[in-house]
């Protein structure tokens, strides 16, 4: 069952990965402004120019911009579709993300909202004293016609400090991308259909699948 275990660990790692990083955020903003000579998003650039510590992903959701913005703005909603985020609670101006880590552990990430433009963009970054550093942003733009809204998530994830972080980063540097992709798909499902698709036949099977994913 090596395969399953790997999957479990990977799953847990990406949760951490998603919330990691921090320093690179400023760097990629600069990079973004610099442009790559064409109109493609900077994170689609080929290696070696590509910054592997930054990921970006867009999904189109058939819902009005305002509705999606409002949903995201309430960070407490995010664990519904972010599989490796256990809870996000508010403490004053801060949000504390409790993220599943390997071996049943959790990591707390303390963030603040660094930008909030109504119906357009929300950005966040970790504050001093957080277990690990992270930053991210989500942008909402109108899709053509009645196709709804384009939701773009950009995150940076520099390898985290510490023993746990090093182990995780070494093994699964690319996994946060997979996690982000799956999370956005689940967000789309939730918003467009009111539920998250599963092919499980029994409730027990869904529980087992979850446990496996979380190692």
């Amino acid at each position: 069952m090596r395969h399953d275990r790997d999957k479990g660990l990977a799953g847990a790692a990406v949760g951490v990965g998603l919330a990691l990083g921090g320093l690179a955020f400023g760097a990629f903003l600069t990079q973004r402004r610099k442009g790559g000579g064409d109109d493609a998003p900077f994170y689609t650039r080929k290696s070696p120019e590509r910054d592997d510590a930054v990921l970006g992903r867009t999904v189109t959701i058939r819902k009005p911009r305002a509705e999606l913005y409002e949903f995201w703005r309430d960070f407490g909603n995010l664990p519904q579709f972010m599989e490796n985020v256990e809870t996000i609670r508010s403490e004053g101006d801060h949000r504390v993300w409790t993220i599943k880590a390997p071996a049943g552990r959790t990591v707390d990430v303390r963030t603040e909202v660094s930008e909030d433009t109504q119906n357009e963009r929300i950005a966040w970054r970790s504050v001093e004293g957080s277990d690990i550093e992270t930053s991210g942003s989500v942008e909402f733009t109108d899709a053509p016609g009645d196709r709804g809204t384009r939701v773009s998530l950009v995150m940076s994830y520099d390898p985290p400090a510490g023993e746990l972080g090093r182990a995780v980063a070494k093994l699964f540097m690319r996994e946060p991308e997979v996690q982000a992709r799956h999370d956005l798909k689940r967000l789309k499902m939730l918003m467009e259909t009111g539920e998250i698709a599963t092919s499980a036949r029994t409730k027990d099977e869904t529980r087992k699948a979850k446990q496996q994913e979380n190692g």
């Binding site: 189109t60 058939r62 196709r147 709804g148 997979v178 992709r181 799956h182 999370d183 798909k185 689940r186 789309k188 499902m189 467009e192 259909t193 009111g194 539920e195 998250i196 698709a197 599963t198 092919s199 499980a200 036949r201 029994t202 409730k203 027990d204 099977e205 869904t206 994913e213």
Partner: protein, 393 residues
């Protein structure tokens, strides 16, 4: 419950597995009264579709009675419904433009990567058809969990027998869409490769849409006879040079439209087909596309190519030049079943489509493994197998 499960190539068994449960609020549980074995199931049986796992419940053509509903299901307990094999949410972009088999929300997020890697985009969820398409438990079982039950299942009136409406789940709309994709005009000569259930329904649909002549190609006498019964002229490819015959039968012009209702496991001893058979056997996965290749050469310049036959991967020596130089138009895909069920049900009620003529065998679910074996090995006489979970025999 009892269910037909896959264990490996040519190894399917009726096992006892856990009953399905309502998981999401739009789910319903259906107690299956009739379910069929499809040519597509043979691709799983033969082990040429990736992503099937031991224990998977197969079957995607089924109907039955609603026995349980989630709180957002629009079905009612006791209702008799036919369930499309394509699982579609009704709310995404592709569902809105009626491309239901491309639904973006029915294949679970963590299962989408495999098909996204293979095809550039993920596939929709399908019942009982490998983990590429979600890994959903299928309909060759006593009960099925049906997601998005407010979108797919179509209620059928009690005066119609199961056998009359069962094929709304797949092959009737598939044959219909195959003919629609061939954009049939009144003066057309249309050639159909394969006289299995899909080909036979494509023939019936093409004639219904006004084709002046339909030519059916196969090598099984009984299947060819059914095609003839439906109004087609027939060619036995073991005895006749197909391309030459098609040129002659279309007055030297070539047929206006071709329909490949064979798919990735074409029979025949053409050299390229033999090489592809070997490749499929050793697992380097070349689809055996010899019927399609022949069709591309037979169709007239500017003609239409419709491919309901299933292909899963790559193929070698594809006549790309014929496609381009002759300016052909190709349309294909897993059927957008939900697009057709209502209209086709009406046609069944009016009696304008015959939906039972191809059923050769009705077996209890317990005999499903034998059904697979015979449907594969005795194709000529076993044209379509319907399994009845309630049948005791």
């Amino acid at each position: 419950m009892r269910a037909l499960t896959w264990h490996g190539t040519h190894d399917v068994r009726v096992d006892t597995v856990d009953d399905p449960e309502i998981i999401n609020s739009r789910d319903a549980i259906i107690e299956v009264t009739s379910t069929a074995i499809c040519g597509s199931d043979l691709h799983l049986y033969d082990g040429v579709i990736p992503g099937v796992r031991p224990g998977d419940v197969l079957g995607h053509e089924f109907m039955g009675r609603v026995v349980e509903t989630g709180k957002d299901s629009t079905l009612e307990k006791g209702q008799r419904v036919v369930v499309p094999f394509t699982i579609a949410c009704g709310g995404c972009f592709h569902c809105k433009v009626q491309q239901f088999s491309a639904c973006e929300n029915s294949n679970p997020a963590e299962k989408q990567d495999m098909s996204a890697t293979l095809y550039g985009h993920p596939m929709a969820g399908l019942f009982g058809y490998s983990h590429l398409t979600g890994g959903y438990s299928g309909g060759q079982a006593e009960y099925v969990r049906v997601p998005f039950s407010d979108v797919g299942p179509i209620a059928v009136p009690d005066h119609l027998e199961d056998d009359q409406v069962l094929f709304l789940s797949d092959i009737l709309p598939t044959g219909w869409m195959a003919a629609e994709n061939a954009e049939i005009q009144p003066d057309d000569t249309v050639a159909v490769w394969g006289c299995g259930p899909v080909g036979l329904f494509a023939i019936q649909s093409a004639i219904h849409m006004g084709a002046s002549k339909v030519i059916a190609i196969d090598h099984y006498p009984h299947r060819l006879a059914l095609a003839k019964q439906m109004g087609a002229e027939i060619i036995d490819f073991r005895k006749t040079n197909v391309r030459e015959a098609l040129m002659e039968m279309s007055g030297g012009i070539g047929v206006d439209a071709v329909i490949d209702a064979v798919g990735m496991e074409a029979h025949g001893f053409a050299i390229d087909n033999m090489i592809d058979i070997v490749k499929q056997k050793v697992g380097v996965g070349a689809d055996r596309a010899s019927a399609l290749k022949q069709a591309l050469l037979a169709v007239r310049p500017g003609g239409r190519v419709s491919i309901p036959g299933v292909y899963g991967g790559m193929t070698d020596k594809f006549p790309l030049g014929a496609l381009m130089e002759k300016g052909l138009q190709v349309r294909t895909g897993q059927t957008h079943v939900q697009r057709y069920t209502k209209d086709l049900l009406k046609k069944i009620e009016e009696g304008t489509l015959d939906t039972t003529f191809m059923i050769s065998h009705r077996l209890p679910l317990e005999d499903a493994a034998r059904g697979y074996k015979c449907f594969r090995e005795e194709q000529d006489s076993w044209t379509k197998v319907v399994l009845k979970p309630g049948m005791t025999d």
